[in-house]
Symmetry: C2
Subunit: 564 residues, 2 copies
């Protein structure tokens, strides 16, 4: 019943099907590998400039003449010509199912010595050494491996080496070859083995002139400093250039690591909350009224009705609590039409939201924050060391200091600490970015933690749905959480009494008609509840000590950027 490729098609597959090689041949090849490796260390540097020239020439030649079938630039016929070339378009249009085994670059290791492997990757580096030899560095995600082509009778022809050096950087290639293990460590690749290339096919060529090179985009400040000291000129890729060509920029090891961390943050968020009886939900992003009030709302026409993009899932997540859901979380986009052009604001970001019934006290919510984030930080430090190292190489940072049980201070205690340090704060006003930073430093010095909770904020600076304190209505049952002196989480007990909610909304200048279905929700029996919201990009940025939230957003949106 299942359509299989026509067996006749399979016959024409010699181009991409591996032909088994007797073990003897592979061992013989291993000898080559040893010598090539030593060459790679001694000659590589000397030939670098020459190579680059040759590469550019080859690229220019290739640029506009992309062949539809096997490339043979030489006039002499090559009996080994089926071992290399550009794969014809139709061969990558789901023509075959060969069942060949593909190996991942990250899995290549010394234990695989002499094994024949098949790999697809991006040609990050193409380095001609001579007419008889060339290196290729193949990349897959954060892993790279060095591939060696050495002319060898009946195995690698000079034409094949020429084909290899004609490839443009970042082209997608299939390499078949034998694993060898050089005596000396390989600099510049993650995997400490080489592949002695037997077959090499180009799947899809990149344009020869990339907006920038991945190596340039991957350099750390340390490298720039070193180069400057030695009088070398390195290309520096600016942030806008990166973001304009984000698909290239994303290929750097640090970026793969950053989004690896991002996915792990979300994973722990979900797993921890599920284990605590929370249920994942999805609330609408198209709503009739604004969810948080204020001007920072994107408006649109919804089939003739005025609509807003939700500034948070606040109203609807509370409504699921009124629906008896008990404990919920949501991961979804949040839209803020703010004009903030800072290092930490985006017009669209990913909100991690939590809402839960509370029995007595909003500290029940703080308890969840505490345990959730400690579990998250522990997980990242324990299981993502490769990613953290990779980020650290390009963007050095100090590991986050945090306590097994998260420190809680009241807002007044925070103000007092600032006061004692000579920083005067309007007691019932909000902390500005500078004061937050300063308090973070004071807390870090005094309590040895970069992660803490500040509770009991003045009511006047919190959203209308925040529950006032029982003993002083100037304060509220609310909290913010800080990492490295920057706010990442806001949370509170909510008002579950419809009359009080209406009163507070009106006092805050909200048109209660636009949120009547929200307010009505509390009339049908609503339990006391609270919750919090946190920006995914901010967690990643601050855990990794990044200096700009655009680094932790796949395709960032700010007041000036809507593409790519």
């Amino acid at each position: 019943m299942e359509p299989e490729p026509n067996p006749n098609d399979m016959a024409s597959l010699s181009l991409t099907t591996p032909t088994p090689t007797p073990d003897g041949v592979e061992v013989e090849v291993e000898g080559d590998a040893g010598s090539s490796s030593s060459i790679s260390k001694s000659k590589a540097k000397k030939d670098a400039k020459k190579a680059e020239k040759a590469e550019k020439a080859a690229q220019r030649q290739q640029a506009r003449s992309r062949p539809a079938a096997v490339t043979s630039e030489s006039d002499e016929p090559d009996p080994l010509s089926s071992n290399y070339g550009d794969i014809p378009v139709e061969d990558i249009q789901s023509k075959f199912i060969t069942g060949r085994t593909w190996t991942g670059v990250k899995d290549l290791c010394a234990e695989m010595k002499d094994k024949r492997v098949l790999i697809r990757g991006a040609a990050q580096v193409i380095r001609p050494v001579s007419k008889k030899m060339a290196f290729l560095v193949l990349r897959q995600s954060m892993s790279t491996v060095q591939c060696v082509l050495v002319v060898s009778k009946d195995i690698v022809s000079p034409q094949m080496v020429r084909f290899a050096t004609s490839l443009s950087k970042e082209s997608i290639v299939d390499v078949e070859g034998v694993i060898s293990v050089p005596n000396d460590p390989i600099k510049g690749t993650t995997q400490q083995v080489e592949i002695q290339v037997r077959k090499l096919y180009c799947v899809n060529r990149a344009v020869p002139n990339l907006p920038f090179n991945i190596e340039d985009a991957s350099r750390s400040e340390t490298e720039f400093k070193k180069a400057e000291e030695s009088g070398e000129q390195l290309v520096r890729v600016g942030q806008d250039t990166r973001l304009n060509h984000r698909v290239l920029d994303l290929r750097t090891p640090a970026n793969h690591a950053i989004f690896g961390i991002q996915s792990q943050v979300e994973k722990v968020f979900r797993q921890f909350l599920e284990s605590e009886g929370f249920r994942g939900i999805h609330t609408p992003k198209l709503i009739a009224g604004s969810s948080e009030g204020g001007a920072a709302v994107f408006k649109l026409d919804y089939k003739g009705q005025p609509a807003c993009l939700a500034q948070s899932p606040q109203l609807h997540k509370q409504m699921t609590i009124c629906g008896g859901f008990g404990r919920v979380f949501e991961v979804g986009p949040v839209f803020r039409a703010e004009d903030s052009y800072t290092h930490r604001h985006l017009c669209e970001f990913v909100g991690l939201d939590v809402e839960m019934e509370i029995k007595e006290h909003y500290f029940e919510v703080c308890d969840i924050v505490d345990r959730l984030f400690v579990a998250m930080f522990n997980h990242l430090n324990k299981n993502c060391s490769k990613e953290l190292e990779s980020i650290n190489r390009q963007y050095p940072f100090q590991p986050l200091k945090y306590l097994p049980e998260t420190l809680r201070l009241t807002y007044d205690e925070g103000i007092q600490m600032l006061k004692e340090a000579g920083v005067e704060i309007e007691p019932m006003g909000d902390l500005n970015t500078e004061a937050e930073k300063k308090l973070g430093k004071l807390v870090s010095d005094k309590y040895n933690t970069d992660f803490y909770i500040l509770t009991r904020y003045p009511l006047g600076i919190r959203p209308f749905y925040t529950m006032p304190c029982y003993d002083d209505p100037a304060y509220s049952n609310s909290f913010d959480v800080f990492i490295r002196g920057e706010e990442i989480i806001s949370g509170a007990q909510r008002i579950h009494l419809p009359d009080l909610l209406t009163e507070r909304a009106e006092k805050c200048g909200i048109d209660v008609n636009t949120i009547s279905s929200y307010i009505d929700s509390f009339k049908y029996g609503a339990p006391p509840h609270g919750g919090f919201g946190v920006g995914l990009e901010r967690v990643v940025m601050l855990f990794c000590g990044l200096n700009n939230i655009r680094k932790s957003s796949l395709f960032p949106r700010d007041p000036q950027r809507l593409t790519p």
Copy 2:
């Protein structure tokens, strides 16, 4: 460092703090429970109408006179008055942290006989039996338990019974009591134990006149039929009424089950894909051009630039593949400004999206679909029987038939099956809803499966980014997946060659200028890839055989509905 409630405050806590009761008293009470249980069976029916009348009267009396402190409607002083009443507002404003142990209704079982428990729940049923006795059914999510109040010296006063019967339905209450196990099964509650009430406090009263009762909203067609046969009139809650008051509607057992299933579908989706090396990503919903073309796009002003809401994460998920991410998935909102007012279209839904490099053939994508959904269906059947039963009780459905390895047919084979059954289809046109249904029936009869994949669709009816077939450009490397004769998944190999992509976009009438950053992504070395998208609400709807997608969306958005 952690602010604790003032110990002086704790002293005033007698209202909500349990006082330990000697075992002897509890056993004596257990005797009462036995007799009350037999009453509950014999008297309940007879007294139903009378009770309802009394209840309504009590509700009316309560309606506008919500007391701020303990209610005592009687003029006689009650020495037991601290055992019941309305909790003062300030007591639920995070005044206390008592450390009391709360029990979940779902955890109540016969093994807990004679144990004293503390429970918070919604008062789903309030049934006065006499001046000396009343029943309360407390609900938490899908679980319910019967609570019994019987006047008993020094334990339950007549005033306390009166207070209980004064509660409005759906009010949130705290009950403290002793578990008893009646001899006969308890009809109408999930838990087969009763709670002999010792203390009863109202946390938050519901308005006395709810838009509808949860019992009415929970009835099945079977119940309606039975009632009709016996000449009884039952209240039927229409879909718009339900959706207008969604927080009430969400409280039905079937709805709790539906959204339990929804969260499980997402959970399996993530876990399966993560185990296969996929990474969760988040792409922007605010984009410059439309992602799928066509008119069904919400437009808005983005800081002076024209913007669209993404109709799918298509372009950006492909761009992460160009960024070397290898295998990605996304769960996020998808916006379609379609005018479809059908049982299966929404203007906003949750998209489950997958994109992956393919080595040779788009069947690699079909393989993921196959194994993912079989794993998902197996998981739901194995681990969610309680939820499925609960849905089945209100909305009866046949379990989904599916094969261990999913059936694949070509589009032409499908057309042929329809033709043989007398249904003529325009061979290169799309299947309409009717033809899909019919083909689903034919496939179900012939292959015994409600879940199958239809491959190799005509190119003309697929999006511009779909890869044409290598052997016939009138067809494409694409597929749809069906459950119970309705399409739920669309997938394909994508065009990774920028020239072909531009050509196809132009042919499909897309303004390539609006998607230039997308097309450029393929110029820098793009691997062959494919993927698919599926609507979360549709999976839930069709797995559970629901008749309307609004039943599987928390707060559905259709052309006429933007609230709640």
